[in-house]
Symmetry: C2
Subunit: 416 residues, 2 copies
């Protein structure tokens, strides 16, 4: 099941069309979860899959599946990613993976039908709901519900900044379904790297061996409303000032700590957010990531110490609540060899790599044997309209995914 | 025109009713400009004034006037404040001044009708539109348009966070009028102090002699979207981190600078404000206040130096644009003696004081002779639901306003 000129051209044409849905002049896209743009791309993907013989279904949290059944009663090899994007973001993040999975699955299905491939398992393509989490936190929502890490009711009740719930938003776009109970045997996903390692080392395929650990915290800083002009400085309890000190401290921690650590605060809501009222409450996120569990533990400990110091210095109260986290966690070792074979068979250079970002595969790998592949990102630019991956790298990834899915359907990845 | 038991009881009853409009369980109010609560309180005030013989008019920016004409063709002594509030705030800020002006004007009108007062000028009560500026910036909007400091078209085009313009919001509540051309001879306003000076020195009446200078700047920090996890720390251009450093620096400046300075950042908008995307743009305010023009100048200079340092250190761009400011500016000296007489006549202790906060009188005093009075604020609590002034102090202020307005209508304040 290797690529040929025709299937490559079809892939690039499909990707160009998909990229036009919610497309921005920059070449990026704006397709947040359960928006009209998301509805349109879902309907396009559903049509694409149905036209090629996949049975299209949507589950209760909006995950979209295309099923190709070869062996009645056998479980499914699942492959996919997510079509939703950040509000203004690149066209590759997620969408490339869904389309590469769909094309790879279609190649394999053709191979099974022609007798070239002996299917032991069935095959399904998935477009996970709301991987980005920008409109409805947390990220990786659809795969978290699918794997039982987040309850359906909790997910459906999450509201966006305008108070619209996931339930209502999915109903509005007509993508809250009732499909249930897909037996999954294994999972494969491909994604752009969102880093510079493949580019800098000159490899086309990254075989993801593990994921950095992440701790996501919800920060609440509470002060007291007062007048920005007349209130004596000593009397102020300024929640936004408290948040500012915490943000600066989180960044400084990356240099202070012994080990590799990435930190960020990127979401912030101020109350009452008036130009003449000192803020009484600020809510923000705090994102800590490291490949080393001890560094992550120490980072959280130090942030808690810093919060106590800020509380005392600035007369505010700070609450740090863990919302979700994942540990440094390895992908299925049997999948590495399988991926290496697929890459070597297709003639592309590969390298083992860690993922810093979370992916839907981060959820799936705790449930079933999981393969995760990367293709290069130019300059590591990510969550940005100017995110870019060369066509040649997109096609290399597609070909390797074809080989990976072929082996998985043939029964090559049966144990964790 | 001094108070008596009956008029005092009526004032407190009216104030209690007014406080129930948009009232919160805390005793505070939520009556932002051109909301339904604002419409209700305007209609109540209009009815109150009309029932007492005032001609009620609304101008093109929603300022509400009640005119009492004694001398055909003569200009008007104007007195009032604002009924609008911050989103959750105290019931005294602004509303006390409007009601005290209305009651004082009614007392004086009775005096003129009975022949006890010889009116040289006419008398008008005003409820200025949108003094708070929380929904529609800038603050003191209605009086700024009235005094020609802000164009009507600019004011009407300002939009709130949901994109609703002042024009549409005023139309929706039915308070965009066409009244024009009120000839104003002088202005008087009373307000809670929003500071602790009267309370700490044990005085009931503050005679405001001048206003601190203020500089209001719009801050824009520009960075670049990237992934909160995978982007290398060295590659990030984090607009929110830049804003955090600027907020911390603004606070620190109060201790560093030689002189009295108040600073605040209280309003902040983050884009794209996603939990997994490093912010590419942050917009915020910067509020600098000092009684000393040299300190204010130096504060702005140092903030600009700090901004350049942050730009270099954090690889972001910062723009500081002055939006509005007022200089340290004195009230009409002839008004001080007039206020002292009114206070002494009514038997209350008084003290000269500066105002840190801006008031509608800040605009009016640049146009006509202006008197500004304060009553105490418990603990100086301001722009807070728990803002509080004792009934006895409210009534003292009312009585002194009665004396001030009586003298002004009699022609006692004829030169700046």
């Amino acid at each position: 099941v290797s690529g040929d000129g025709e299937s490559h051209a079809e892939f690039l044409a499909d990707f160009a069309y998909l990229s036009s849905i919610g497309g921005l002049p920059s070449g990026g896209v704006d397709r947040e979860a359960a928006t009209i743009a998301d509805a349109k791309q879902r309907t396009w993907l559903g049509g694409w899959l149905a036209a090629r013989g996949f049975d299209v279904h949507v589950d209760e949290v909006g995950n979209q599946f295309g099923l190709m059944t070869f062996v009645e009663g056998a479980p499914y090899v699942l492959t996919g990613s997510h079509l939703d994007s950040q509000p203004t973001s690149g066209r590759f993040d997620g969408a490339y993976g869904v389309l590469a999975s769909a094309h790879a699955a279609n190649r394999v299905a053709k191979g099974v039908r022609s007798g070239a491939i002996n299917a032991v398992f069935n095959l399904a393509v998935v477009n996970w709901f709301n991987e980005e989490g920008s409109r409805f936190p947390p990220s990786m929502m659809g795969s978290a519900v699918f794997t039982g890490k987040l309850s359906l009711d909790t997910a459906l009740a999450v509201t966006d900044a305008r108070g619209v719930s996931v339930r209502r938003a999915l109903d509005e776009i007509g993508y809250r379904g009732d499909f249930d109970g897909l037996p999954v045997q294994s999972y494969a996903e491909i994604h752009i790297e969102q880093g510079k390692e493949l580019e800098q080392t000159g490899h086309q395929i990254g075989i993801v061996t593990g994921t950095w650990g992440a701790r996501k915290l919800a920060v609440t800083v509470r002060g007291e409303q007062s007048h920005t002009g007349s209130t004596l400085m000593a009397d102020r309890k300024d929640a936004l000032l408290g948040a500012a000190h915490l943000i600066a401290a989180a960044r400084a921690l990356c240099e202070e700590i012994d080990g590799v650590l990435h930190t960020a605060v990127s979401h912030l809501e101020v109350y009452p957010n008036s130009p003449v009222v000192v803020a009484s409450e600020v809510r923000s996120n705090l994102d800590l990531r490291s490949p080393d569990p001890a560094v992550l533990e120490e980072a959280e400990r130090r942030m808690r110490v810093t919060a106590v110091r800020i509380e005392r210095d600035l007369n505010v109260r700070i609450d740090l609540a863990k919302t979700h986290s994942w540990d440094r966690n390895d992908y299925t070792p049997a999948g590495f060899a399988l991926s290496e074979r697929a890459s070597a068979d297709a003639g592309y250079s590969h390298r083992e790599i860690l993922t810093v970002a979370g992916h839907d595969s981060t959820n799936l790998k705790d449930l079933v044997p999981t393969v995760m592949l990367f293709v290069p990102s130019r300059d590591g630019v990510s969550h940005n309209e100017y995110e870019y991956t060369e066509d040649a790298d997109l096609l290399a990834g597609l070909d390797v995914m074809g080989g990976v899915v072929r082996q998985m359907v043939s029964g090559a990845l049966q144990s964790v």
